[in-house]
């Protein structure tokens, strides 16, 4: 399942996508501690799989929650997507 968390506002699209089919294979979940803003958590989804998700409180503000990892210039990688061994995490912006 492709779970898209985020929103669109007047300034653009801000979505974090979790490919849960790949995420569920991961044993260590390094993405959660890798995020300095604690945006990610492990939940049990509606079908009983333990997968990564964006914390409810961050879903309507991820543009701002993720901003420290995305300065105006000079960034090429993100701690969360780098940490994910299955390439299951992507950002839309």
């Amino acid at each position: 399942m492709l779970a898209n968390y985020g929103y669109t506002d007047g300034s653009g699209d801000y979505f974090i996508t979790v490919d849960t089919d790949h995420c569920v294979e991961c044993a260590d979940r390094p993405c959660v501690p890798a995020c300095p803003a604690a945006v990610l958590e492990i939940i049990e989804d509606d079908y009983g799989d333990e997968v990564c998700a964006v914390v409810e409180a961050h879903r309507k503000q991820i543009k701002y929650s993720c901003a420290p990892c995305k300065p105006a210039t000079g960034w090429t990688t993100l701690p969360c997507t780098e940490a994910c061994p299955h390439g299951a995490l992507t950002h839309s912006w």
Binding site: M1, Y7, T8, D9, D46
Partner: protein, 289 residues
């Protein structure tokens, strides 16, 4: 007396052809949404009874009221229900639910039941948000996207517009289609801005049908952007209250170039139907264990 033009019809229904006492499993689903609440009772996976009403300020009370109303005149009581699943905004506040499941999973499963297993894309146009969902032939979600930052392009926005223009909410869609030429859409990013724009258009002498056309068009355009983000796979179905508004549905179909499936059932109960189907499956699973 003040006329509330936004007020849609609240009602309950049960199938007199079904004897629920013959059923092996009686399951129910309660969808406590931001604007409306529905309770559905299923007898062995068949739709037996439901209610559809406005959500009050107290979620547990809304869930209780919806369930009591669905069971009215059925000779059943809450104790007869084997398992209940809560869904929607207030899903964790359904006092008698054995489990809470997101409205995304429930709408996919409910659409699969109401429209058939060919549904691959579900657009739930709810009271305060819209969700684009992809599902498989069993109604299991394969992708989803929700846009709940703002109530623009949702049922509540349409209610605001109905009240502003003094047009009963059930007539908004048809009236919006009664225009010779499609006007440019109003602001689609905010209900408050859209209301201000609509007021300004009325002052400029625009007739009500033209203003409604501009708003329905804006709503369709906004939802199209949401759907395009995950893509539209056939067959396509709409659930939620806005599915009853032909002014939005027709414009949306034109923008997408895809015709939506039709159903005789109330599209507002899709989430509760999905929840009741989950409840049945959970009860059977527990029984087996």
């Amino acid at each position: 007396m003040t006329v509330e033009f936004w007020r849609w019809k609240e009602y309950n229904w049960h199938d007199p052809e079904i004897d629920p006492r013959d059923a092996e499993v009686l399951s129910s689903g309660v969808d406590v949404g931001s604007v409306s609440s529905q309770a559905v009772v299923m007898a062995d996976g068949k739709l037996f009874a439901f209610s559809n009403m406005r959500t009050g300020s107290d979620s547990p009370e809304s869930a209780n009221k919806a369930m009591t109303w669905a069971l009215e005149d059925t000779d059943l009581s809450l104790d007869d229900i084997d398992f209940t699943v809560g869904t929607g905004y207030g899903r964790v506040n359904v006092p008698f639910a054995g489990k809470a499941i997101t409205e995304i999973a429930c709408h996919a499963r409910g659409a699969n039941f109401l429209y058939g297993p060919s549904v691959r894309t579900v657009l739930d146009m709810g009271g305060q948000d819209c969700k684009a969902i992809h599902c498989d032939e069993k109604g299991k979600v394969t992708a989803f996207l929700m846009n709940d930052k703002c109530a623009a392009g949702t049922g509540r926005g349409m209610e605001v517009m109905a009240d502003l223009l003094s047009v009963p909410i059930e007539e908004v869609g048809e009236m919006s289609l009664d225009v010779e030429e499609e006007p440019p859409p109003v602001s689609s990013t905010c209900v408050v801005f859209a209301k201000s724009e609509a007021s300004a258009l009325l002052r400029q002498g625009w007739p009500k049908n033209r203003v409604l056309a501009a708003y329905c068009s804006a709503m369709a355009h906004r939802v199209t952007s949401l759907l395009e983000r995950i893509g539209v796979e056939k067959e396509f179905a709409i659930t939620g209250g806005i599915a009853k508004n032909p002014g939005v549905v027709k414009r949306l179909e034109e923008e997408l170039g895809v015709e939506g499936l039709k159903t005789e059932a109330d599209t507002q109960i899709a989430g509760a139907v999905g929840a009741a189907l989950f409840a049945r499956a959970l009860h059977l699973k527990a029984k087996k264990a």
